[in-house]
């Protein structure tokens, strides 16, 4: 500030008062001026609302606290990875979709599994009836994984696998599959979601209770640090928390609280924080409130950097960084006038890019009706390509940094997250808070509040509570899963069980049982079991027998 800074300030205050007077007098639209999360919004933000210390709160991209991005060059060096989540039907069908996506310029794979796989049941288990291949691909064994990755160079492509309870088992199938392709595990790149805490809180595909589940996660961290060093061992996910109905602040807070719990567990298991923390990655939702989402991504980076350096004593800057994948908000899509979903997704994708995401999935317009068709997926991928290539937004790093509004939102979200961290701490930590149903109740409360806001039309949804059209039936073509997939999976499993060496299977499962009772690394045993052609369900049955079932707390 110059020598007459004080006078400038006086004039600024006068000008603001003048504006406020004009503003107060004017007629306003009769709507609630709140964020999508329901937070009140000022009509204007100024320097007084966005008190930010440039050096400590923002800094430069690629340096602490990474508010402006994790890389010094961001998208000038490399665009984000365009990674469409895909999986349906049989391993053969998903393998074809993977090749289709790679041929159209996608740069990484992302695998969706069906519910039986997500819950650790083979396709021929009684609980799997009607679910095989429906919401993702059915993978019951190494043989299925080999079909899934057939003809895909595993040393070159990075693969993300959205699986949690049985994540270590599917990762074992992937590692074994690479070995059969002749690929050294050291060359494998990818991510396994492996975030069990948010399963108990929001997504609900679990295998065993929290303590043994957390032990398996530290087993994965320990094994990969030494043997699969390029693998992201957990993708700490806010996506499902948000989709289950949370606000942006809750998504941020619960995700990072879960992340901190994994760090504590890793340290408690005797691992050096800088050995595993650089391989932790994150996964966020990008919802419809454009600025709130951008602020959320920025706040996530800043909070995590501070916690990792100052609370957990990490020394390696890679341990401080939030590298994250983003998916546009599935819940924001409407079954009504589904083509409008292309537009919603484009805005959400843009927020993710302006928020500095490392990879991105854009939803397809038809996903409130069924799994996406090839055409819908292609439009979704093209949406990212238009953002990357046509609209010139990827040239400038953190382009909204310094916006009074975005900085104020970033600060507010950080403060809200801190309040949740304190409450979780008061409840005895994130595992206790989850077992008490506290986090689930918080999410449910927000979900109900949002539904109520839509129903009284204080939150508008085009085609649902405004600009409604009379629609007779689906206006777009839908993708349906052939029920024959389930039968074929049964046949494949029967054939596998017949041809494999039964004694080897028994021994491998016995080794897993022993490892459950000791502190031996379970992932190592799972890889051996994969090579012996043990199925997912057989391995998971051992874990369920040894560790028990998870029981969800009643919140309703």
């Amino acid at each position: 500030m110059t020598i007459d800074g004080s006078r400038t300030e006086v004039r600024a205050v006068d000008a603001r008062a003048l504006w406020q007077e004009e503003f107060d007098k004017a007629k306003k639209r009769g709507v609630e001026f709140t964020s999508l999360s329901g937070a009140p919004l000022a009509p204007l933000y100024g320097p007084e609302d966005a008190r930010t210390d440039f050096e400590n709160d923002l800094g430069y991209p690629g340096s602490f606290p990474y508010t402006r991005g994790v890389h010094p060059t961001m998208y000038r060096s490399r665009l984000w990875t365009m990674r469409q989540f895909a999986g349906f039907g049989s391993a053969r069908q998903t393998n074809e979709r993977f090749k289709f996506l790679l041929a159209h310029g996608q740069t990484g794979l992302s695998t969706a599994f069906d519910f039986p796989t997500l819950m650790g049941y083979d396709s021929d288990h009684a609980h799997s009836l009607g679910e095989v291949g429906q919401v993702g691909v059915a993978i019951s064994s190494l043989a299925d994984m080999e079909v899934l990755m057939d003809g895909i160079p595993m040393a070159e492509v990075s693969t993300s696998m959205t699986i949690n309870g049985p994540a270590p088992i599917l990762l074992a199938f992937y590692i074994a599959c690479g070995e059969r392709q002749g690929v050294d595990p050291k060359l494998l790149r990818g991510t396994v979601q492996n975030d069990i805490l948010k399963e108990y809180q929001a997504q609900h595909a679990w295998l065993v209770p929290a303590e043994p589940a957390l032990r398996m996660i530290t087993d994965v961290m320990g094994y990969c640090a030494k043997r699969v060093p390029q693998w992201n061992t957990i993708s700490i996910s806010g996506y499902h928390i948000r989709e289950a109905g949370s606000t942006a602040a809750q998504e941020l807070a619960f995700t990072l609280a879960n992340g901190m719990e994994y760090v504590r567990r890793g340290k408690a298991a005797g691992l050096d924080v800088d050995e595993f923390a650089p391989r932790l990655s994150f996964f966020f939702d990008s919802h419809l409130d454009f600025f709130e989402e951008i602020a959320k991504f920025r706040a996530a980076r800043r909070i995590w950097a501070r916690k990792m350096r100052d609370t957990f004593g990490a020394k390696d800057p890679r341990s401080w960084m939030v590298r994250f994948h983003t998916q546009t908000a599935g819940v924001s899509l409407t079954a009504q006038q589904p083509e409008n979903n292309i537009v919603r997704t484009a805005f959400e994708a843009l927020a993710a890019v302006l928020g500095g995401t490392q990879s991105l999935h854009t939803n397809s317009m038809d996903e409130t009706l069924s799994l996406p068709t090839e055409k819908a997926v292609k439009i979704a991928l093209r949406t990212q390509q238009i953002i990357a290539e046509e609209i010139e937004v990827a040239h400038v790093i953190d382009p909204l940094g310094g916006s009074y509004y975005v900085e104020a939102l970033t600060n507010r979200l950080e403060a809200e997250a801190e309040r949740y961290f304190a409450e979780i701490e008061r409840r005895g930590g994130v595992v206790a808070a989850t077992e008490q149903g506290y986090i689930q109740k918080e999410i449910h409360r927000s979900a109900v509040a949002y539904t109520a806001a839509v129903e009284r039309a204080s939150k508008k949804v085009v085609g649902v509570n405004c600009y409604v059209e009379d629609e007779k039936g689906p206006t777009i073509e839908l993708h349906k899963i052939d029920p024959a997939v389930e039968r074929e999976q049964h046949e494949r499993l029967a054939a596998l069980r017949k041809k494999r060496d039964g004694a080897k299977v028994k021994r491998a499962l016995g080794d897993i049982r022993d490892a459950c009772k000791s502190s031996d690394n379970l992932l190592e045993r799972f890889v051996a079991a994969a090579h012996a052609d043990c199925t997912l369900g057989e391995i998971a049955d051992v874990l369920r027998a040894e560790f028990g079932h998870y029981k969800e707390p009643k919140i309703l």
Partner: protein, 142 residues
């Protein structure tokens, strides 16, 4: 309109391995707000377990929430299990991610009305109330 003499008893069920419970819980809360007695089964229930709870609790309505694509397998199984337990009279309804032609197939096979994404909870509550009024009036007339 004549008010119903007793509370409508509803079981909100999550059959199969599907973990998406936002819709089920939101609808359950909304039906409670509309004066119904609502029991929520929790996640990952077999059709047998749902029918068992429905019989034990002597509910009037069973609402299934299915976002897993398994609706064509699960609705008929829940119906069959209800019938086995003498609960064939129950008003069976539901919703989720269900393509419209599947909805039409299920509805024409007698699985009551199904509700898709974006349906106001108010509309579900009003529909259940209307159906129960009709049933109780018919029973009263007998």
């Amino acid at each position: 309109m004549q008010m119903t003499s007793r509370k409508i008893r509803v079981l909100v069920g999550k059959p199969g391995l599907d973990g998406h419970d936002r819709g089920a819980k939101t609808v359950a809360s909304a039906l409670r707000d509309h004066g119904m007695e609502v029991i929520y089964t929790g996640l990952h229930q077999t059709p047998e377990a749902i029918a068992e709870i429905a019989a034990q609790e002597d509910v009037d309505v069973v609402g299934l929430s299915i976002l897993s694509g398994a609706h064509m397998a699960l609705f008929p199984r829940v119906r069959a299990e209800l019938e086995k337990r003498g609960m064939g009279h129950v008003l069976l309804t539901g919703g989720g991610i269900i393509p419209m032609d599947d909805m039409a197939t299920l509805e024409s096979a007698g699985y009551a009305k199904l509700f898709g994404p974006g349906t106001p909870t108010e509309a579900i509550a009003k529909w259940i109330q209307g159906e129960m009024e009709k049933r109780w009036q018919a029973e009263g007339a007998q």
